[in-house]
Protein backbone atom coordinates (compact mmCIF):
# COMPACT_ATOMS: atom_id res chain seq x y z
CA UNK A 1 0.00 0.00 0.00
CA UNK A 2 1.73 3.14 -1.19
CA UNK A 3 -0.57 5.40 0.86
CA UNK A 4 0.76 3.93 4.07
CA UNK A 5 4.37 4.54 3.07
CA UNK A 6 3.39 8.05 1.95
CA UNK A 7 1.90 8.60 5.41
CA UNK A 8 5.25 7.89 7.01
CA UNK A 9 7.61 9.47 4.47
CA UNK A 10 5.99 12.28 2.52
CA UNK A 11 3.53 13.59 5.12
CA UNK A 12 5.43 12.65 8.25
CA UNK A 13 2.29 11.42 9.97
CA UNK A 14 4.24 10.36 13.03
CA UNK A 15 5.39 13.94 13.63
CA UNK A 16 1.76 15.04 13.34
CA UNK A 17 0.71 12.54 16.00
CA UNK A 18 3.67 13.63 18.12
CA UNK A 19 2.27 17.19 17.96
CA UNK A 20 -1.13 15.81 18.98
CA UNK A 21 0.47 14.10 21.99
CA UNK A 22 2.40 17.24 23.02
CA UNK A 23 -0.75 19.36 22.70
CA UNK A 24 -2.65 16.86 24.82
CA UNK A 25 -0.06 16.45 27.56
CA UNK A 26 0.73 20.15 27.98
CA UNK A 27 -2.95 21.10 27.99
CA UNK A 28 -3.72 18.28 30.40
CA UNK A 29 -1.19 19.53 32.96
CA UNK A 30 -2.38 23.14 32.67
CA UNK A 31 -6.04 22.13 32.73
CA UNK A 32 -5.44 20.04 35.86
CA UNK A 33 -3.85 23.05 37.60
CA UNK A 34 -6.55 25.55 36.60
CA UNK A 35 -9.31 23.01 37.22
CA UNK A 36 -8.08 22.22 40.74
CA UNK A 37 -7.96 25.90 41.63
CA UNK A 38 -11.48 26.43 40.27
CA UNK A 39 -12.78 23.37 42.14
CA UNK A 40 -11.25 24.61 45.41
CA UNK A 41 -12.82 28.02 44.82
CA UNK A 42 -16.20 26.40 44.34
CA UNK A 43 -16.08 24.52 47.67
CA UNK A 44 -14.44 27.37 49.60
CA UNK A 45 -16.25 29.22 52.40
CA UNK A 46 -15.87 32.58 50.63
CA UNK A 47 -19.04 33.39 48.71
CA UNK A 48 -17.31 35.58 46.10
CA UNK A 49 -14.85 32.83 45.22
CA UNK A 50 -17.72 30.33 44.91
CA UNK A 51 -19.49 32.64 42.49
CA UNK A 52 -16.37 33.24 40.40
CA UNK A 53 -15.73 29.50 40.19
CA UNK A 54 -19.33 28.73 39.25
CA UNK A 55 -19.38 31.49 36.64
CA UNK A 56 -16.14 30.19 35.11
CA UNK A 57 -17.49 26.65 34.81
CA UNK A 58 -20.89 27.73 33.46
CA UNK A 59 -19.47 30.10 30.87
CA UNK A 60 -16.57 27.99 29.62
CA UNK A 61 -18.47 24.71 29.60
CA UNK A 62 -21.20 26.20 27.43
CA UNK A 63 -18.88 27.76 24.87
CA UNK A 64 -17.86 25.66 21.85
CA UNK A 65 -14.19 24.69 21.89
CA UNK A 66 -13.86 25.81 18.27
CA UNK A 67 -14.93 29.31 19.32
CA UNK A 68 -12.44 29.30 22.22
CA UNK A 69 -9.56 28.29 19.95
CA UNK A 70 -10.54 30.71 17.18
CA UNK A 71 -10.81 33.45 19.80
CA UNK A 72 -7.30 32.68 21.05
CA UNK A 73 -5.88 33.25 17.60
CA UNK A 74 -8.10 35.88 15.94
CA UNK A 75 -9.05 37.66 19.14
CA UNK A 76 -6.11 37.41 21.52
CA UNK A 77 -3.29 37.43 18.99
CA UNK A 78 -4.47 39.33 15.92
CA UNK A 79 -6.78 41.86 17.55
CA UNK A 80 -5.29 42.32 21.01
CA UNK A 81 -1.69 41.59 20.15
CA UNK A 82 -1.16 38.95 22.86
CA UNK A 83 1.63 36.65 21.72
CA UNK A 84 3.10 33.77 23.66
CA UNK A 85 6.31 33.22 21.73
CA UNK A 86 9.49 35.10 20.91
CA UNK A 87 8.68 37.45 18.01
CA UNK A 88 12.24 37.34 16.63
CA UNK A 89 12.35 33.59 16.42
CA UNK A 90 11.94 32.27 12.89
CA UNK A 91 9.47 29.65 14.14
CA UNK A 92 7.39 32.41 15.74
CA UNK A 93 4.10 31.68 13.95
CA UNK A 94 4.23 27.96 14.66
CA UNK A 95 5.27 28.39 18.30
CA UNK A 96 2.68 31.07 18.91
CA UNK A 97 -0.16 29.09 17.35
CA UNK A 98 0.83 25.98 19.29
CA UNK A 99 0.91 27.84 22.60
CA UNK A 100 -2.35 29.67 21.92
CA UNK A 101 -3.93 26.28 21.15
CA UNK A 102 -2.58 24.89 24.44
CA UNK A 103 -4.01 27.92 26.22
CA UNK A 104 -7.44 27.46 24.64
CA UNK A 105 -7.51 23.71 25.22
CA UNK A 106 -6.50 24.03 28.87
CA UNK A 107 -8.91 26.86 29.67
CA UNK A 108 -11.75 24.89 28.06
CA UNK A 109 -10.99 21.54 29.68
CA UNK A 110 -10.24 23.08 33.08
CA UNK A 111 -13.98 23.55 33.55
CA UNK A 112 -14.52 19.81 33.07
CA UNK A 113 -11.59 19.00 35.36
CA UNK A 114 -13.14 21.24 38.01
CA UNK A 115 -16.44 19.38 37.73
CA UNK A 116 -14.62 16.03 37.91
CA UNK A 117 -12.77 17.02 41.07
CA UNK A 118 -15.93 18.38 42.62
CA UNK A 119 -17.63 15.05 41.97
CA UNK A 120 -14.55 13.45 43.56
CA UNK A 121 -15.00 15.64 46.63
CA UNK A 122 -18.55 14.33 46.83
CA UNK A 123 -17.25 10.75 47.12
CA UNK A 124 -15.35 11.59 50.32
CA UNK A 125 -17.46 10.53 53.31
CA UNK A 126 -18.76 13.23 55.62
CA UNK A 127 -16.85 11.77 58.59
CA UNK A 128 -13.49 12.50 56.95
CA UNK A 129 -14.10 16.23 56.74
CA UNK A 130 -15.72 16.27 60.18
CA UNK A 131 -12.76 14.44 61.71
CA UNK A 132 -10.35 16.87 60.06
CA UNK A 133 -12.27 19.80 61.48
CA UNK A 134 -12.51 18.10 64.87
CA UNK A 135 -8.72 17.90 65.18
CA UNK A 136 -8.62 21.61 64.43
CA UNK A 137 -7.49 21.77 60.81
CA UNK A 138 -8.52 24.97 59.05
CA UNK A 139 -10.23 24.86 55.61
CA UNK A 140 -7.12 24.79 53.42
CA UNK A 141 -5.40 22.13 55.53
CA UNK A 142 -8.58 20.04 55.62
CA UNK A 143 -8.54 20.13 51.83
CA UNK A 144 -4.84 19.57 51.40
CA UNK A 145 -4.25 16.73 53.84
CA UNK A 146 -7.61 14.99 54.08
CA UNK A 147 -10.16 15.76 51.40
CA UNK A 148 -8.28 16.45 48.15
CA UNK A 149 -6.02 13.35 48.26
CA UNK A 150 -9.14 11.21 48.55
CA UNK A 151 -11.08 13.35 46.08
CA UNK A 152 -8.43 12.92 43.37
CA UNK A 153 -8.50 9.16 43.84
CA UNK A 154 -12.29 9.22 43.64
CA UNK A 155 -12.20 11.40 40.54
CA UNK A 156 -9.83 9.21 38.51
CA UNK A 157 -12.53 7.87 36.21
CA UNK A 158 -14.02 11.26 35.24
CA UNK A 159 -10.52 12.73 34.96
CA UNK A 160 -9.65 9.90 32.58
CA UNK A 161 -12.73 10.77 30.54
CA UNK A 162 -11.58 14.36 30.34
CA UNK A 163 -8.11 13.28 29.21
CA UNK A 164 -9.57 11.09 26.46
CA UNK A 165 -11.86 13.93 25.37
CA UNK A 166 -8.87 16.27 25.42
CA UNK A 167 -6.88 13.92 23.18
CA UNK A 168 -9.70 13.93 20.64
CA UNK A 169 -10.40 17.64 21.01
CA UNK A 170 -6.78 18.55 20.35
CA UNK A 171 -7.70 18.08 16.66
CA UNK A 172 -9.54 21.42 16.85
CA UNK A 173 -6.12 23.11 17.12
CA UNK A 174 -5.83 22.59 13.37
CA UNK A 175 -8.26 25.48 12.93
CA UNK A 176 -5.52 27.93 13.88
CA UNK A 177 -2.86 26.20 11.84
CA UNK A 178 -1.25 23.75 14.24
CA UNK A 179 -0.10 20.82 12.12
CA UNK A 180 -1.41 18.00 14.25
CA UNK A 181 -3.03 14.80 13.05
CA UNK A 182 -6.31 16.16 11.63
CA UNK A 183 -4.53 18.93 9.71
CA UNK A 184 -2.27 16.38 8.03
CA UNK A 185 -5.24 14.13 7.33
CA UNK A 186 -7.00 17.03 5.61
CA UNK A 187 -4.02 17.62 3.33
CA UNK A 188 -3.67 13.92 2.56
CA UNK A 189 -7.38 13.62 1.70
CA UNK A 190 -7.19 16.64 -0.56
CA UNK A 191 -4.22 15.20 -2.42
CA UNK A 192 -5.45 11.62 -2.63
CA UNK A 193 -9.29 11.62 -2.65
CA UNK A 194 -9.17 8.26 -4.46
CA UNK A 195 -7.96 6.49 -1.32
CA UNK A 196 -9.75 8.56 1.28
CA UNK A 197 -11.08 5.54 3.14
CA UNK A 198 -7.55 4.27 3.73
CA UNK A 199 -6.36 7.70 4.83
CA UNK A 200 -9.25 8.08 7.26
CA UNK A 201 -8.63 4.54 8.50
CA UNK A 202 -4.96 5.27 9.26
CA UNK A 203 -5.75 8.39 11.28
CA UNK A 204 -8.76 6.86 13.02
CA UNK A 205 -6.63 3.89 14.09
CA UNK A 206 -4.02 6.37 15.30
CA UNK A 207 -6.57 7.91 17.64
CA UNK A 208 -7.85 4.52 18.77
CA UNK A 209 -4.23 3.63 19.63
CA UNK A 210 -3.88 6.89 21.58
CA UNK A 211 -7.15 6.71 23.52
CA UNK A 212 -7.52 2.98 24.15
CA UNK A 213 -4.50 2.51 26.45
CA UNK A 214 -5.39 5.71 28.33
CA UNK A 215 -8.87 4.33 28.99
CA UNK A 216 -7.49 0.99 30.18
CA UNK A 217 -4.83 2.69 32.31
CA UNK A 218 -7.37 4.90 34.04
CA UNK A 219 -9.74 1.98 34.64
CA UNK A 220 -7.01 -0.04 36.30
CA UNK A 221 -5.83 3.05 38.21
CA UNK A 222 -9.33 3.79 39.46
CA UNK A 223 -9.46 0.26 40.87
CA UNK A 224 -5.92 0.26 42.26
CA UNK A 225 -6.09 3.72 43.80
CA UNK A 226 -9.65 3.49 45.09
CA UNK A 227 -9.75 4.47 48.75
CA UNK A 228 -10.57 1.35 50.76
CA UNK A 229 -13.53 2.12 52.95
Amino acid sequence: MDVISEFFSEYDGLAAFRTTIYLTLLSAVLALLIGTVVAVMRVSPVRVLQLIGTAYVNIVRNTPLTLVIVFCNLGLFLQLGVSLANKDSNTFINDNNFRLAVLGLSVYHASFVAEAIRSGVNTVPLGQAEAARAIGLPFLKTLRYVVLPQAFRGAITPLGNVLIALTKNSTVASVIGVTEASAVMKVMIENRPDVLFVVFGIFAIGFVILTLPVGMLFTSMSKRLAVKR
Binding site: V43, P45, V46, V48, L49, Q50, I52, R61, N62, T63, P64, L65, T66, L67, V70, F71, L74, L78, Q79, L80, G81, H109, F112, E115, A116, S119, A129, E130, R133, P138, L143, P158, G160, N161, I164, A165, K168, N169, V172, S174, V175, A181, S182, M185, I189, P193, L196, F200, F203, A204, F207, V208, T211, L212, G215, M216, F218, T219, S220, S222
Partner: protein
Amino acid sequence: MSGSVLFDAPGPRSKRLYAAVGVASIVALFLALWFVIDRFNEKGQLTAAKWKPFLTGEIWTAYLLPGLAGTLTAAAISVVLAMIVGVLLGVGRLSAAVWIRWPCSVIVEFFRAVPVLLMMLFTFALYAHYEVFPPEQYALAAVVTALTLYNGAVVAELVRSGVFSLPKGQREAALAIGLTGGKTMRLVLLPQAITAMLPAIVGQLVVILKDTALGYIITYEELLRKAEQIGNFKVNLLPALIVVGAIFVIVNYLLGLLANRVETMMRRRGRSAGGPLTADPIDQTGGAGLTGVTTGADDTSDTGS
Protein backbone atom coordinates in the same frame (compact mmCIF):
# COMPACT_ATOMS: atom_id res chain seq x y z
CA MET B 1 -23.31 21.88 48.50
CA SER B 2 -20.51 19.69 49.66
CA GLY B 3 -18.62 22.73 50.87
CA SER B 4 -20.58 23.06 54.06
CA VAL B 5 -18.95 20.06 55.74
CA LEU B 6 -15.50 21.29 54.80
CA PHE B 7 -15.44 24.19 57.23
CA ASP B 8 -16.98 25.13 60.56
CA ALA B 9 -19.55 27.83 60.95
CA PRO B 10 -17.27 30.87 61.00
CA GLY B 11 -16.55 32.62 64.27
CA PRO B 12 -15.80 36.34 64.49
CA ARG B 13 -12.17 35.92 63.38
CA SER B 14 -13.02 33.63 60.46
CA LYS B 15 -15.79 35.97 59.42
CA ARG B 16 -13.30 38.81 59.22
CA LEU B 17 -10.88 36.59 57.31
CA TYR B 18 -13.54 35.46 54.83
CA ALA B 19 -14.66 39.04 54.33
CA ALA B 20 -11.06 40.10 53.69
CA VAL B 21 -10.51 37.30 51.19
CA GLY B 22 -13.81 38.16 49.55
CA VAL B 23 -12.93 41.81 49.18
CA ALA B 24 -9.44 40.93 47.95
CA SER B 25 -10.83 38.63 45.27
CA ILE B 26 -13.36 41.25 44.15
CA VAL B 27 -10.52 43.74 43.84
CA ALA B 28 -8.43 41.19 41.93
CA LEU B 29 -11.36 40.47 39.62
CA PHE B 30 -11.89 44.16 38.91
CA LEU B 31 -8.18 44.67 38.31
CA ALA B 32 -8.21 41.81 35.81
CA LEU B 33 -11.33 43.20 34.13
CA TRP B 34 -9.83 46.67 34.07
CA PHE B 35 -6.67 45.25 32.50
CA VAL B 36 -8.72 43.53 29.79
CA ILE B 37 -10.87 46.60 29.13
CA ASP B 38 -7.77 48.78 29.03
CA ARG B 39 -6.23 46.43 26.49
CA PHE B 40 -9.44 46.51 24.43
CA ASN B 41 -9.49 50.28 24.60
CA GLU B 42 -5.83 50.57 23.66
CA LYS B 43 -6.43 48.43 20.58
CA GLY B 44 -9.53 50.42 19.69
CA GLN B 45 -11.98 47.59 20.32
CA LEU B 46 -14.38 49.62 22.43
CA THR B 47 -15.36 52.22 19.87
CA ALA B 48 -19.04 52.66 19.10
CA ALA B 49 -18.43 51.78 15.46
CA LYS B 50 -17.42 48.26 16.49
CA TRP B 51 -20.37 47.57 18.80
CA LYS B 52 -23.17 49.59 17.28
CA PRO B 53 -23.87 47.19 14.40
CA PHE B 54 -25.28 44.69 16.91
CA LEU B 55 -28.04 47.15 17.74
CA THR B 56 -29.15 47.31 14.10
CA GLY B 57 -31.67 44.87 12.70
CA GLU B 58 -29.54 44.21 9.66
CA ILE B 59 -26.80 42.31 11.47
CA TRP B 60 -29.40 40.13 13.15
CA THR B 61 -31.54 39.36 10.11
CA ALA B 62 -28.63 38.99 7.69
CA TYR B 63 -26.06 37.23 9.88
CA LEU B 64 -26.83 36.22 13.44
CA LEU B 65 -30.29 34.72 13.03
CA PRO B 66 -29.40 32.76 9.87
CA GLY B 67 -26.27 31.60 11.70
CA LEU B 68 -28.30 30.51 14.70
CA ALA B 69 -30.73 28.79 12.33
CA GLY B 70 -27.82 26.93 10.73
CA THR B 71 -26.50 25.86 14.11
CA LEU B 72 -29.93 24.77 15.36
CA THR B 73 -30.81 22.95 12.11
CA ALA B 74 -27.66 20.86 12.20
CA ALA B 75 -28.13 20.17 15.92
CA ALA B 76 -31.81 19.24 15.56
CA ILE B 77 -31.28 16.83 12.66
CA SER B 78 -28.29 15.31 14.43
CA VAL B 79 -30.09 14.74 17.71
CA VAL B 80 -33.02 12.99 16.06
CA LEU B 81 -30.77 10.77 13.96
CA ALA B 82 -28.44 10.14 16.90
CA MET B 83 -31.40 8.96 19.00
CA ILE B 84 -32.43 6.48 16.30
CA VAL B 85 -28.89 5.23 15.67
CA GLY B 86 -28.17 5.18 19.39
CA VAL B 87 -31.22 3.13 20.35
CA LEU B 88 -30.55 0.64 17.53
CA LEU B 89 -26.89 0.27 18.48
CA GLY B 90 -27.64 0.16 22.19
CA VAL B 91 -30.26 -2.56 21.78
CA GLY B 92 -27.91 -4.34 19.39
CA ARG B 93 -25.21 -4.37 22.05
CA LEU B 94 -27.65 -5.93 24.50
CA SER B 95 -28.79 -8.56 22.01
CA ALA B 96 -28.47 -12.22 22.90
CA ALA B 97 -27.10 -13.02 19.44
CA VAL B 98 -23.32 -12.75 19.23
CA TRP B 99 -23.36 -11.79 15.55
CA ILE B 100 -25.43 -8.69 16.36
CA ARG B 101 -23.83 -7.81 19.69
CA TRP B 102 -20.25 -7.97 18.49
CA PRO B 103 -20.45 -5.67 15.43
CA CYS B 104 -22.55 -3.18 17.40
CA SER B 105 -19.91 -3.09 20.15
CA VAL B 106 -17.12 -2.49 17.63
CA ILE B 107 -19.08 0.28 15.92
CA VAL B 108 -19.89 2.01 19.20
CA GLU B 109 -16.34 1.84 20.53
CA PHE B 110 -14.87 2.98 17.21
CA PHE B 111 -17.03 6.06 16.88
CA ARG B 112 -16.47 6.99 20.50
CA ALA B 113 -12.71 6.86 20.04
CA VAL B 114 -12.44 8.85 16.80
CA PRO B 115 -12.53 12.67 17.04
CA VAL B 116 -15.68 14.26 15.60
CA LEU B 117 -13.58 16.63 13.51
CA LEU B 118 -11.79 13.72 11.85
CA MET B 119 -15.15 12.20 10.87
CA MET B 120 -16.39 15.56 9.66
CA LEU B 121 -13.37 16.12 7.41
CA PHE B 122 -13.68 12.56 6.11
CA THR B 123 -17.42 12.66 5.35
CA PHE B 124 -17.08 16.11 3.80
CA ALA B 125 -14.41 14.81 1.40
CA LEU B 126 -16.44 11.64 0.85
CA TYR B 127 -19.62 13.50 -0.15
CA ALA B 128 -17.66 15.89 -2.35
CA HIS B 129 -15.74 13.10 -4.07
CA TYR B 130 -18.71 10.82 -4.76
CA GLU B 131 -21.21 13.70 -5.17
CA VAL B 132 -23.76 12.12 -2.87
CA PHE B 133 -25.65 15.35 -2.16
CA PRO B 134 -26.16 18.61 -4.05
CA PRO B 135 -22.93 20.63 -3.57
CA GLU B 136 -24.50 23.28 -1.35
CA GLN B 137 -25.52 20.54 1.11
CA TYR B 138 -22.09 18.88 1.54
CA ALA B 139 -21.17 20.84 4.65
CA LEU B 140 -24.51 20.32 6.42
CA ALA B 141 -24.52 16.63 5.49
CA ALA B 142 -20.97 16.18 6.79
CA VAL B 143 -21.72 17.98 10.06
CA VAL B 144 -24.88 15.93 10.59
CA THR B 145 -23.21 12.62 9.70
CA ALA B 146 -20.26 13.15 12.03
CA LEU B 147 -22.42 14.33 14.91
CA THR B 148 -24.90 11.50 14.38
CA LEU B 149 -22.23 8.81 14.42
CA TYR B 150 -20.43 10.12 17.49
CA ASN B 151 -23.53 10.99 19.50
CA GLY B 152 -25.28 7.83 18.35
CA ALA B 153 -22.44 5.89 19.96
CA VAL B 154 -22.80 7.95 23.14
CA VAL B 155 -26.59 7.44 23.20
CA ALA B 156 -26.04 3.70 22.65
CA GLU B 157 -23.98 3.62 25.83
CA LEU B 158 -26.69 5.61 27.62
CA VAL B 159 -29.32 3.10 26.49
CA ARG B 160 -27.16 0.25 27.70
CA SER B 161 -26.51 1.80 31.10
CA GLY B 162 -30.19 2.76 31.30
CA VAL B 163 -31.23 -0.86 30.80
CA PHE B 164 -28.59 -2.06 33.27
CA SER B 165 -29.83 0.42 35.86
CA LEU B 166 -33.30 -1.16 35.89
CA PRO B 167 -34.05 -3.63 38.70
CA LYS B 168 -33.57 -7.26 37.71
CA GLY B 169 -37.18 -8.00 38.54
CA GLN B 170 -38.44 -6.01 35.54
CA ARG B 171 -36.85 -8.37 33.08
CA GLU B 172 -37.67 -11.46 35.09
CA ALA B 173 -41.32 -10.46 35.41
CA ALA B 174 -41.57 -9.78 31.68
CA LEU B 175 -40.08 -13.16 30.85
CA ALA B 176 -42.28 -14.84 33.47
CA ILE B 177 -45.51 -13.64 31.83
CA GLY B 178 -44.29 -15.23 28.61
CA LEU B 179 -42.85 -12.33 26.62
CA THR B 180 -40.04 -13.20 24.25
CA GLY B 181 -36.60 -11.64 24.68
CA GLY B 182 -37.32 -9.08 21.96
CA LYS B 183 -40.69 -8.14 23.40
CA THR B 184 -39.22 -7.85 26.89
CA MET B 185 -36.74 -5.34 25.52
CA ARG B 186 -39.25 -3.44 23.40
CA LEU B 187 -42.24 -3.33 25.73
CA VAL B 188 -40.73 -3.35 29.20
CA LEU B 189 -37.05 -2.44 29.41
CA LEU B 190 -36.55 0.08 26.62
CA PRO B 191 -39.42 2.46 27.50
CA GLN B 192 -38.17 2.68 31.08
CA ALA B 193 -34.56 3.02 30.03
CA ILE B 194 -35.38 5.84 27.61
CA THR B 195 -37.40 7.66 30.25
CA ALA B 196 -34.49 7.34 32.65
CA MET B 197 -32.15 8.61 29.94
CA LEU B 198 -34.14 11.72 29.13
CA PRO B 199 -32.16 14.19 31.28
CA ALA B 200 -28.90 12.83 29.92
CA ILE B 201 -30.22 13.16 26.37
CA VAL B 202 -31.13 16.80 26.94
CA GLY B 203 -27.66 17.26 28.41
CA GLN B 204 -26.23 15.68 25.27
CA LEU B 205 -28.04 18.34 23.26
CA VAL B 206 -25.62 20.89 24.70
CA VAL B 207 -22.73 18.78 23.43
CA ILE B 208 -24.27 18.50 19.97
CA LEU B 209 -25.01 22.21 19.81
CA LYS B 210 -21.43 23.06 20.76
CA ASP B 211 -20.01 20.55 18.30
CA THR B 212 -21.90 22.09 15.39
CA ALA B 213 -19.32 24.88 15.70
CA LEU B 214 -16.84 22.38 14.25
CA GLY B 215 -18.74 22.91 11.01
CA TYR B 216 -16.89 26.24 10.82
CA ILE B 217 -13.82 24.28 9.75
CA ILE B 218 -15.62 22.72 6.76
CA THR B 219 -17.28 26.03 5.81
CA TYR B 220 -20.73 25.20 7.18
CA GLU B 221 -22.73 28.41 7.61
CA GLU B 222 -23.25 28.41 11.36
CA LEU B 223 -22.90 31.06 14.06
CA LEU B 224 -19.11 31.10 14.24
CA ARG B 225 -18.76 31.40 10.46
CA LYS B 226 -21.29 34.24 10.52
CA ALA B 227 -19.28 35.95 13.25
CA GLU B 228 -16.27 35.88 10.99
CA GLN B 229 -18.33 37.31 8.13
CA ILE B 230 -19.63 40.10 10.36
CA GLY B 231 -16.05 40.74 11.39
CA ASN B 232 -14.95 41.07 7.76
CA PHE B 233 -17.95 43.20 6.87
CA LYS B 234 -17.89 45.66 9.78
CA VAL B 235 -14.23 45.27 10.81
CA ASN B 236 -15.29 44.22 14.30
CA LEU B 237 -14.19 40.62 14.57
CA LEU B 238 -13.59 40.64 18.30
CA PRO B 239 -17.01 42.07 19.26
CA ALA B 240 -18.62 39.63 16.81
CA LEU B 241 -16.87 36.66 18.43
CA ILE B 242 -17.92 37.86 21.88
CA VAL B 243 -21.56 38.32 20.85
CA VAL B 244 -21.69 34.88 19.23
CA GLY B 245 -20.03 33.35 22.28
CA ALA B 246 -22.69 34.96 24.48
CA ILE B 247 -25.45 33.51 22.26
CA PHE B 248 -23.92 30.02 22.61
CA VAL B 249 -23.57 30.37 26.37
CA ILE B 250 -27.17 31.54 26.83
CA VAL B 251 -28.71 28.84 24.64
CA ASN B 252 -26.61 26.09 26.22
CA TYR B 253 -27.17 27.36 29.73
CA LEU B 254 -30.93 27.28 29.15
CA LEU B 255 -30.64 23.74 27.78
CA GLY B 256 -28.67 22.76 30.87
CA LEU B 257 -31.41 24.20 33.09
CA LEU B 258 -33.98 22.27 31.06
CA ALA B 259 -32.01 19.06 31.62
CA ASN B 260 -32.06 19.67 35.38
CA ARG B 261 -35.79 20.43 35.28
CA VAL B 262 -36.51 17.21 33.39
CA GLU B 263 -34.43 15.30 35.92
CA THR B 264 -36.21 16.67 38.99
CA MET B 265 -39.58 16.25 37.29
CA MET B 266 -38.87 12.61 36.60
CA ARG B 267 -37.47 11.99 40.05
CA ARG B 268 -40.74 13.31 41.47
CA ARG B 269 -42.93 11.35 39.10
CA GLY B 270 -40.90 8.21 39.48
CA ARG B 271 -42.52 6.28 36.65
CA SER B 272 -39.41 4.41 35.71
CA ALA B 273 -38.29 1.59 37.96
CA GLY B 274 -34.72 2.86 37.69
CA GLY B 275 -33.68 6.29 38.87
CA PRO B 276 -33.10 8.95 36.26
CA LEU B 277 -29.60 8.99 34.83
CA THR B 278 -27.95 12.22 35.73
CA ALA B 279 -27.57 14.90 33.11
CA ASP B 280 -24.21 15.84 34.52
CA PRO B 281 -21.64 14.47 32.11
CA ILE B 282 -19.05 13.95 34.79
CA ASP B 283 -21.23 12.12 37.27
CA GLN B 284 -22.46 9.76 34.60
CA THR B 285 -21.70 6.16 35.37
CA GLY B 286 -22.23 3.87 32.46
CA GLY B 287 -21.11 0.47 31.37
CA ALA B 288 -17.41 0.01 30.97
CA GLY B 289 -16.65 -0.24 27.29
CA LEU B 290 -13.50 -1.05 25.40
CA THR B 291 -11.96 2.17 26.58
CA GLY B 292 -12.96 0.91 29.97
CA VAL B 293 -13.89 4.23 31.47
CA THR B 294 -17.48 5.02 32.23
CA THR B 295 -19.41 6.67 29.52
CA GLY B 296 -21.98 9.28 29.58
CA ALA B 297 -22.85 12.46 27.95
CA ASP B 298 -19.22 13.36 28.05
CA ASP B 299 -18.97 16.19 25.72
CA THR B 300 -16.23 16.83 27.34
CA SER B 301 -15.65 15.18 24.10
CA ASP B 302 -16.00 16.88 22.56
CA THR B 303 -16.66 18.24 23.04
CA GLY B 304 -17.55 19.20 23.30
CA SER B 305 -15.66 20.96 20.74
